[in-house]
């Protein structure tokens, strides 16, 4: 049995004039591995604590939040890595709906703006569009994104211009399709990012790389897009 202290961001727009931090102490039984397990115990004590969760194994992206100042997934954050009191806040920069739940609309708007689907208008083959193992390798480190928003909401450029800068997650997916040998819209995809804001607000701050729970690297992907843009300009 171990006592842990939590400081949780609370906000119910119907009840609270403004958000406040609530301190809760609970007795953990010792069988809680991840932060999400502790959150569920917290909810049993205070059912009004609201957070999103689903897969509990780091593939759905629902439970991204700010944990002791750093974005991450509650279900993949091992409690042993969190020393002392645990401060939980919603992802920074996005409007808070309630407690640890944010409005993801702007995040998804940027994602959809890069056309996250394969574009290939050539005649459909009988079976699959084929791809060599080397071509498929190019997608590693890109396709695994679970759209949890940990990266974009840790990016100062995204905080300052969420409506104009696509953000690390959207740009990583833009490169995922640019890099796909089966996609034929590379020129259009690059045109789509050629303005002062959509791509070029990335100043390689690299908070995104630091927080990605899947170990992905948006900065490298963005760098590759920048390179493609430069090459086609000269």
């Amino acid at each position: 049995m171990e006592k842990r202290t939590f400081h949780i961001y609370r906000y119910d727009p119907d009840k609270d004039a403004k958000p406040y931090m609530q301190t809760v102490e609970i007795e953990l039984e010792g069988n809680e591995r991840m932060l999400l397990d502790a959150l569920m115990k917290l909810k049993a004590v205070d059912p009004t604590i609201a957070y999103r969760r689903s897969c509990r194994e780091g593939v759905c992206g629902s439970d991204a939040m700010n944990i002791n100042g750093k974005n991450g997934l509650a279900c993949l954050t091992n409690l042993r890595t969190l020393k002392g009191a645990i401060t939980l806040k919603p992802l920074p920069g996005l409007p808070v709906i309630r407690d640890l739940i944010v409005d993801m609309t702007q995040f998804f708007k940027q994602y959809h703006s890069i056309k996250p689907y394969l574009v290939n208008d050539s005649i459909k083959p009988e079976k699959e569009r084929l791809q060599s193992p080397e071509e498929r390798e190019e997608l590693n480190g890109l396709y695994e994104c679970i759209l949890c928003a940990s990266c974009s909401t840790s990016c100062p450029s995204f905080w300052w211009n969420p409506d104009k800068f696509v953000g690390p997650a959207g740009l990583l997916q833009a490169y995922r399709f640019i890099a796909d040998s089966r996609d034929q819209a590379t020129a259009e995809r690059l045109d789509n990012l050629e303005d002062p804001y959509r791509l070029f607000r990335c100043h390689t701050i690299m908070n995104c790389v630091d927080v990605c729970p899947k170990g992905l690297n948006p900065t490298v992907a963005i760098g590759k897009i920048k390179e493609l843009l430069v090459r086609r300009a000269v």
Binding site: D12, P13, D14, K15, R33, M40, K43, A44, P47, T48, A50, Y51, R52, R53, S54, C55, R56, E57, G58, C60, L76, N78, I97, R98, D99, I101
Partner: protein, 413 residues
């Protein structure tokens, strides 16, 4: 969920693609949101739930966490070991070994544990060994499995085996449909009368293409094929149907009653406490190995828990993104799926696919029921009705549309 606002949606067609109810069990590979919501809706509307007794236990769920280790591991060459370091599947399935059908492997693992050859301090799991595949193969072909090993079992699978137990994974049963994805009910003398405008697709449906046991990957196939079939049928139906049927004045009554009941509670049980009792009971009475005694006890326990569902207290009555209310409503769906399962299971007195009852096990050369499968009496689909918790049955369609019929055979490998 976001605003707490209530809406009545009046549509020419409704498609339920609400997934399975794996969270009626304690150990599950499923996400928390798999609470059988579509099944609950159908059951409350008087639609029977078909073949709910058939649940697939996936052999390789991480012991304790329940997280799934894909069958692809065994496809790449991973093997299961007991406490003697023996590849026990060689004994149970000499030909297919570790790649025997999931229900068979799950039962073999359960048997090894029951007979005292389990691993760990409580001898309650077996081991999945992958290190012999080599780090390169593992990182290249099974990268997510490596991550799961590290995160959920503190194991580096390139060096040591990982503890696994049979874990509930998939429901073969669900809302009865035809091959257009239309929901079908027993009406007008027919066992399969299509309900115009209502469709179900995916794990929540029962066409049935998985019968008593599903093969790996076939759930994806099911979604693609019947998702498209239902989509095509919906387009055709909606364009032919000129207007909506009139909405009755009391269309929202029953839902409002459920919400109002929760909103006016001042005492009662916490939703997750009731849900945990459902899960514990199902795990114990409708597990990998079933006995008539255990299932009958399960029927009684689930019926008793059902009484408690109606007395759940909702402490958080707020409007905006109230997850406590959602969880309380989900328990009302869990109990439908759980009761459908345990009642259907206790009634089926034979062994078929994933439903194995030790009382009815027989050798392969038994005259009446080879390997316990009694086709003469039990080659039929179960239909459980929520009202009165009663069972009916309908015949299995044995004649395919465009190919020769495949007669049932004894399953040996």
């Amino acid at each position: 969920m976001e605003t707490g606002d209530l809406h009545v949606l009046h549509a020419k067609t409704v498609l339920l693609a609400t997934g399975g109810a794996g969270r009626i069990y304690q150990a599950s590979t499923n996400a928390f949101i798999n609470t059988g919501d579509g099944l609950g809706m159908a059951a409350r509307a008087g639609i029977p739930l078909e073949d709910m007794e058939f649940w697939q236990f996936h052999p390789t769920g991480v012991a304790g966490a329940g997280v799934l280790l894909t069958e692809g591991c065994r496809g790449e060459g991973a093997i299961l070991l007991n406490s003697n370091g023996e590849r026990f599947m060689e004994r149970y399935a000499p030909t297919l070994k570790d790649l025997a059908p999931r229900d068979f492997v799950s039962r073999s693992m359960d048997q090894e544990i029951k007979e005292g050859r389990g691993c760990g301090p409580n001898k309650d799991y077996v081991l999945l060994k992958l290190d012999h595949l080599g780090a390169e193969t593992i990182h290249k072909r099974l990268p997510s499995v490596y991550e799961i090993g590290v995160n959920f079992a503190n194991v580096d699978i390139t060096r040591e085996p990982i503890p696994v137990v049979p874990t509930i994974h998939y429901q073969m049963g669900g809302i009865p449909t035809n091959i257009n994805g239309q929901v079908v009910i027993q009406k007008n003398g027919s066992d399969n009368e299509a309900l115009n405008g209502l469709y179900a697709v995916g794990e929540c449906s029962c066409v049935s293409v998985h019968g008593a046991n599903r093969l790996g990957t076939n759930s994806l196939l099911d979604l693609l094929v019947f998702g498209k079939a239902a989509g095509n049928h919906i387009v055709e139906f909606a364009s032919k149907t000129k207007s909506h049927k009139p909405l009755p004045a009391d269309a929202a009554e029953r839902s409002l009653e459920r919400l109002n009941r929760l909103d006016s509670t001042t005492s009662g049980e916490y939703a997750q406490d009731v849900a945990n009792d459902i899960r514990a009971s199902m795990q114990k009475h409708a597990g990998v190995f079933r006995t008539q005694l255990a299932m009958d006890e399960g029927v009684r326990q689930i019926a008793a828990i059902r009484e408690r569902v109606g007395a759940i207290e909702l402490k958080d009555k707020s409007r905006v993104f109230n997850t406590a209310r959602i969880e309380a409503l989900e328990v009302e769906n869990l109990i439908e799926a759980a009761q459908a399962t345990i009642v259907s299971a206790a009634a089926r007195r034979e062994c078929r696919g994933a439903h194995t009852v030790s009382d009815y096990e027989r050798p392969a050369d038994d005259a009446v029921a080879p390997l316990g499968r009694d086709d003469a009496n039990w080659l039929k689909h179960s239909l459980w009705y929520s009202e009165g918790s009663r069972l009916a049955y309908k015949p299995v369609k044995l004649k395919p549309l465009s190919v020769e019929s495949v007669p049932p055979k004894v399953r040996t490998f």
